[in-house]
């Protein structure tokens, strides 16, 4: 029986398409030449210059403050939402599910715009706080979906066993369900953290003076700044991404075993 080779070729081409731009970026970050056209020799010059960019470090600090706090709150809200969606059915949960699901598909720009108008209508000062509120809003949905997917494969007879042995629902949830779901909650938290670190559009709409985040800084560098510095910064971000993906893979593997 002859098999078509089209799927194989498509996959290889797509992977080349995925990685070629990233590879060029990494190579160029070590290129001494200021203009990416030719190879000017190996150099760490751009990484050294990056260290002197105070604005970048300030922006990174803002980004991390928001990412950690938004992740923490959205994990609590998202996990509780996933429990509700899984354990209960009915009108309330159907509404709840629609509310959790819709932010996942709404384009960022609409969410940014509506939150900006909301804060303007409240005459709230745009700051790190408004960015934090916006990030929690979109992270809840992602955390809820990841945890919900884990709950669906979860064997609830274990919780029932705990209840038969005299634990009440809360004890069973706290001592049995939660620890067993920890990898799922961890994966949701990592996703929320990555999305928060990476978010540009929504942050851009609700950022005020002095609350520049790293993606906002990178955006203005892409628009007006020097390409070699962005190359070097991008490579650092890539390394962080690889570490995060590696962690999240570890969390998934544990589940398979």
């Amino acid at each position: 029986m002859k098999r078509s080779r089209i799927p194989l070729y498509t996959t290889c081409l797509v992977l080349l398409f995925f990685y070629l731009p990233i590879a060029v970026l990494v190579i160029n970050s070590f290129n001494a030449s200021k203009f990416g056209g030719g190879w000017g020799g190996f150099s760490l010059r751009w990484y050294r210059e990056l260290i002197d960019q105070r604005e970048i470090w300030h922006a990174l600090r803002n980004t991390l403050v928001i990412a950690f706090s938004a992740t923490a709150l959205s994990v609590v809200l998202g996990t509780s939402a996933a429990f509700a969606l899984h354990r209960f059915t009915g009108r309330l949960q159907r509404l709840h599910y629609t509310l959790i699901y819709t932010p996942l598909v709404v384009p960022d720009i609409l969410m940014g715009m509506s939150l900006l108008l909301f804060f303007v209508a409240l005459s709230a000062q745009l700051s790190l706080l408004t960015i934090f509120l916006a990030h929690v809003t979109f992270c809840i949905s992602y955390v809820a979906m990841v945890v919900l997917a884990r709950l669906q494969d979860f064997d609830f007879s274990i919780v029932e066993a705990a209840q038969d042995l005299g634990a009440n629902w809360w004890t069973a949830a706290w001592r049995v369900l939660l620890p067993m779901l920890a990898p799922g909650i961890g994966a949701g938290a990592l996703l929320a953290f990555t999305l928060s670190i990476d978010d540009f559009v929504i942050s851009f709409f609700v950022a005020g003076p002095g609350s520049t985040t790293l993606p906002i800084r990178i955006y203005s560098m892409i628009k007006h700044g020097s390409p070699p510095l962005i190359n070097a910064l991008s490579v650092l971000l890539l390394v962080i991404t690889f570490v995060l993906v590696w962690f999240s893979q570890k969390l998934t593997e544990e589940k398979i075993k």
Binding site: M1, R3, I6, P7, T10, T11, V14, L15, F18, Y19, P21, I22, V24, L25, F35, G36, V76, L77, S80, A81, F83, A84, R87, L92, Q93, L95, H96, L99, P103, V105, V106, P107, D108, I109, L110, M111, M113, S114, L115, L116, L117, F118, V120, A121, L133, V136, I140, T194, D198, F200, I218, Y219, I222, K223, I230, N231, S234, L238, T241, V245
Partner: protein
């Protein structure tokens, strides 16, 4: 009786935090956008008093239909290309032995997690007049030395496919992974050509994944703003660019709201259609299971 009340209380206890948060910070802001679209602008970049139709009426200006049309065709083409590349890829990956499947999956996931701006910037570098692709194409005499690869609708389309492709591959793959490939073998044994087996067994088998992929690509593509802003030019602006311009450059918030309303309506149409299709399928499946 008492347990049912307790159950009700527990349900509200775990539902209320996220429900309230999303009502205040998602539903309410969306309603505010609709309201402000009917407000006049004031000269200080704020929102004027009273109500007016004139903001919405000004969208009739011949510029906007052209931009809305362009937004639709760029998003549609992006979605079609992502599905055309994503389906064969998922088909291939789902048939690999588990170990290698994990490797390929990881290779798709990494770009999915990589910074959105970094990936767009990488293409700006490649397509730049001094960039690798431009130089290669000039060397092969495929393009003119002064032709620009950047700042046009083609560049926007290319980078959109690049950015959204993982969002298409992952749901299609998730569906293909559960697909029973023995069915294809069976169809082939019964004399179907491999194309026919692919079309009438595989594609219907993974239609849920295709539907999800469609929504995951088409809807964000409609609202694309950063990609046309960085690699596009004045003739490849999309509706997202106009919203940002009205917000940040002209500081005309009612106008930006009116455009957002248009975009919201454009997003709601495929979303509702998709959800209804899914619900119909679910109901179908339930009836089927119950032997009806």
């Amino acid at each position: 009786m008492k347990t049912s009340r307790r159950r009700r209380y527990t349900e509200w206890l775990v539902t209320l935090p996220s429900l309230a948060w999303l009502v205040v910070l998602f539903v309410l802001p969306t309603l505010i956008v609709f309201a402000i679209a009917f407000k006049p602008a004031n000269p200080y970049g704020g929102i004027g008093a009273g109500w007016t139709w004139s903001t919405l009426a000004s969208l009739g200006n011949p510029n906007y239909p052209a931009i809305i049309w362009r937004t639709l065709w760029i998003s549609t083409t992006t979605t079609v290309l992502c599905l055309l590349l994503g389906i064969p890829m998922a088909y291939f990956m789902a048939q690999l032995p588990p170990r290698r499947r994990q490797v390929f999956l990881l290779l798709v996931i990494i770009p999915f997690w990589t910074s959105f701006l970094v990936r767009i910037f990488a293409w700006k570098v490649l397509l730049h007049p001094d960039g690798l692709i431009k130089q290669a194409l000039v060397a092969l005499h495929l393009v003119d030395a002064d032709a620009s690869l950047l700042y046009n609708a083609g560049a926007v389309l290319l980078v959109m496919v690049y950015t959204y492709l993982p969002f298409a591959v992952l749901p299609i793959y998730a569906a293909a992974e559960k697909f029973e490939f023995a069915l294809i073998e069976a169809a082939r044994d019964l004399g179907a050509s491999s194309w026919k087996a692919f079309r009438s067994i595989f594609l219907p088998g993974i239609r849920r994944g295709i539907l999800t992929a469609f929504l995951m690509v088409f809807i964000p593509a409609l609202g694309a703003y950063v990609i046309p802003d960085i690699v596009g030019g004045p003739h490849s602006e999309m509706i997202g660019n106009k919203i940002a311009q009205r917000t940040f450059v002209d500081r005309n918030l009612p106008h930006a709201s009116a455009l957002s309303v248009i975009l919201t309506l454009a997003v709601l149409a495929p979303l509702t259609a998709g959800m209804l299709m899914q619900r119909k399928k679910d109901r179908h499946a339930v009836l089927h299971q119950e032997g009806l």
